[in-house]
């Protein structure tokens, strides 16, 4: 299988063979992270820009470290939304970066489709690090990697995704990815936070969290955006936790060996109880480590590396 893409904009348009290739490549690269000297020369002299229009700690750091471990040069640009709206347009920013020789732009943006817009306007590779409510493809890839590693497979697993599905790009990317890899997905949350006609996403939706958790192999908890409450989508955080918060008792409905996942950052005691975050079913820290590996794999593949070069 050859990797033949200029950009990574979403999981929806990827084939399962492409996903497999990325995960396999990430597996080969992950050992670098645990070495004392975390540096390989693979991408020496290559230039990667991170362009973040939204705050982020883990995703940006993860991309940056992935690039650094592979010896690429990185530049980070952070822009607050307000100054963007007053100042330079995305198109002009993109052209400026290209003029300076950027070979890859990793973009996070509050508006869905912004990476597509950038990709159309740039010869450089564009990686979507989260766009509005659309997709967060690298998060889904690291989640798939983590599940596959722990469960040795993806096909046939039952995955429960709990929380604000409507506004979540993590949920969307995971739904596309998990479905492509043959897993069964059930989503749960208050009906005001579930997408219209969920069946069109190929998932089962229920407002009864117990039904979603029953027999699940993986429980993926999403971050609750507290500002949704102010918009009236649910009455109080207390009531949210009462019905959809994942605690030890609820997790017992899932399989005994079920994994607990969360893309972070989490509200302890709101969408997931504190003891579970630190408990033995939690793979949250593994997700973070694997995130670096998956992003190394993407940088490597997009900047022209061939899968069989890694082992050398």
């Amino acid at each position: 299988m050859r990797f033949n893409r200029k950009d990574i904009l979403g999981i929806r348009e990827m084939g399962s063979d492409e996903i497999e290739l990325i995960l396999d490549t990430a597996r080969s690269l992950r050992d670098i992270i645990t070495r004392t000297i975390k540096k390989v020369p693979t991408l020496r002299g290559r230039t990667v820009v991170t362009l973040f229009y939204e705050p982020s700690t883990r995703t940006r750091t993860s991309f940056e470290l992935a690039a650094k471990y592979m010896s690429a040069d990185t530049v980070n640009i952070s822009t607050s939304t307000s100054s963007v709206r007053k100042g330079e347009t995305l198109k002009d920013t993109a052209r400026t970066l290209e003029a300076m020789g950027a070979e890859m732009v990793i973009i996070r943006h509050p508006v869905a489709g912004a990476p597509h817009f950038l990709a159309r306007n740039l010869r450089a590779s564009v990686v979507n690090a989260g766009d509005g409510m659309h997709e967060h493809p690298t998060q889904a890839l690291l989640d798939l990697f983590t599940i596959r590693e722990k469960k040795k497979r993806l096909k046939g697993l039952k995955i429960a995704i709990v929380g604000d599905i409507l506004h979540s790009r993590v949920a969307r990317s995971n739904i596309w990815g998990l479905r492509k890899m043959g897993a069964e997905v059930v989503v749960s949350g208050p009906s005001t936070l579930l997408p219209p006609e969920s069946a069109t996403l190929g998932v089962k939706a229920t407002h009864r969290v117990e039904e979603a958790l029953e027999g699940a192999d993986v429980v993926m908890v999403l971050r609750l955006q507290l500002e949704r409450q102010r918009k009236g989508l649910f009455p109080t955080v207390r009531e949210y936790t009462r019905y959809w918060g994942i605690n030890r008792e609820r997790l017992r409905l899932a399989r005994d060996d079920a994994l607990l996942m969360h893309p972070g950052p989490f509200n302890r005691g709101v969408e997931v109880s504190s003891d579970l975050v630190d408990g033995n079913q939690s793979v949250i820290n593994k997700q973070v480590t694997n995130g670096v590996a998956v992003r190394m794999a993407l940088l490597f593949l997009l900047l022209g590396g061939k899968p069989d070069e890694i082992s050398r």
Partner: protein
């Protein structure tokens, strides 16, 4: 100027004409309709193999002047209208300043008289500043020349204000045009709410945002006996509500745009988030498109209107949420409708002329839209065989914001005659 239009198939549902006929035009008036007219000293326009119809009337155009001249002007907008086969446009009042007083209306009319290629009929605001609070001087606006009232782009949120508008405008026989949108339900949505918005990750505007206002205004129209015209309806539910109200005898008319008849919300993601698909009301679903076409055919929907909303490239070459709402429609409306609706078997050519000439004239009280001796010489000649690909660089409108770029259409207007003058085609 003397003209003879020879050999064309003349279609005019207003007079019931459909046949090969010649037309003699003198001093802006049709002076003779008949067969084998002698040219005498007149210039001959050969319409053999072509279709001659009354000039199209667009009841929903944004000319952007005054205030947004970088998007469109009265000169460029009416030039685009001429190229699109329109001989009259009703321009919306959401300019800057808005057309909420007689002075502004007079300014537009004066500018149009000097620079316009086709007739311009201003629509005046319903409320002062389009703020939805106090009625404008509707009588004075009528005297200044408005043919309808609208706070287009903004709904009149206060139902009592809308009730008063319908009640008061009735005395002046002016239609009150409703831009049906509940702003709380619409929120900050940018596309239709449904599976397509879920997949695209963009905020949705539900059909209910339109339909609750359609329902409210139909109730108010029934209660007051005022003349209600619904702008750009876009959902199956709206069609159903209007159909039912008409059956009860409510004085309601409505319009639909060419883009809502031909595009769906799925196209947004398919086009890679092309901001030229961003329009309000948003592009809806296949079921809505089918219902709108059915509503046109059965007479529920009276008019096809462009909602021509030209924007500068800078207003569109940005992220989807930040892009302006609107589609530039004058240049493509007619060939799009001929190709998709007539070609697709949804409307006859006669019905299309009703929706784009006769009914617009009737609803807005314009003495035009017919081909008859002694009538105003506003004509559009269509070449039903002319096949061309939509190329925005050839648009006469300053607004190049068209989602139809690259679409092949058949049946373009080739000559437009406004008040006896050739304003498009024949070397113009």
């Amino acid at each position: 100027m003397k003209l003879v239009v020879k050999g064309g198939r003349v279609i005019d549902p207003g007079t019931g004409v459909d046949g090969l006929m010649d037309l003699r035009i003198e001093d802006g008036t049709i002076v003779e309709v008949g067969e084998n007219l002698k040219p005498d000293a007149a210039k001959v326009i050969d319409a053999t193999g072509k279709v001659v119809i009354p000039g199209l009337i667009d009841v929903h155009t944004h000319l952007r002047e005054p205030g947004y001249e970088w998007k469109e002007t009265i000169a460029t907008g009416t030039r685009a209208a001429a190229a699109g086969g329109f001989t009259a446009v009703c321009c919306m009042p959401n300019t800057n300043p808005v057309l909420d007083n007689p002075g502004q209306v007079t300014y537009v009319l004066e500018k149009a008289r000097r620079e316009g290629k086709v007739a311009v009929y201003p629509i005046g605001c319903i409320t002062k500043g389009s703020r939805g609070e106090e009625l404008t001087e509707i009588g004075y606006l009528r005297e200044a020349g408005v043919v309808g009232l609208s706070d287009d782009g903004l709904p009149v949120e206060n139902a009592e204000v809308m009730r008063c508008a319908l009640e008061y405008a009735r005395m002046f026989n002016l239609p009150v045009i409703s831009h049906c949108e509940d702003r709380h339900l619409a929120g900050d949505g940018v596309m239709n709410w449904g599976p397509a918005s879920t997949a695209a990750g963009l905020k949705g505007i539900p059909a209910s945002a339109e339909e609750v206002m359609v329902a409210r205004d139909l109730i108010l129209a029934a209660a007051t006996g005022g003349r209600l015209h619904l702008a750009h309806i876009s959902t199956a539910g709206s069609v159903r509500l209007v159909r039912e109200a008409k059956r009860r005898g409510v004085a309601v008319t409505c319009e639909v745009t060419p883009h809502h008849l031909t595009l769906t919300d799925r196209f947004i993601q398919e086009s890679g988030y092309d901001t030229n698909t961003k329009v309000n009301p948003p592009l809806r679903t296949d079921a809505d498109v089918a219902a709108l076409r059915e509503g046109l055919a059965d007479g529920t929907i009276d008019i096809i209107a462009t909602d021509h909303a030209p924007h500068h490239t800078d207003d569109k070459e940005v992220e989807y949420n930040y892009a302006a709402f609107g589609i530039s429609g004058l240049d493509t409306a007619l060939p799009l409708m001929v190709t998709e609706l007539v070609g697709g078997g949804y409307l006859t050519l006669n019905q299309l002329v009703e929706k784009m000439c006769l009914n617009p004239a009737r609803v807005f009280g314009l003495s035009r839209g017919r081909i008859e001796t002694g009538g105003r010489a506003d004509l559009t000649i269509i070449d039903p065989e002319e096949r061309r690909t939509v190329d925005v660089s050839r648009f006469y409108s300053l607004g190049k914001n068209s989602p139809f770029l690259g679409r092949e259409l058949t049946g373009w207007p080739v000559v437009t005659i406004a008040a006896g003058v050739v304003v498009h085609g024949e070397g113009k």
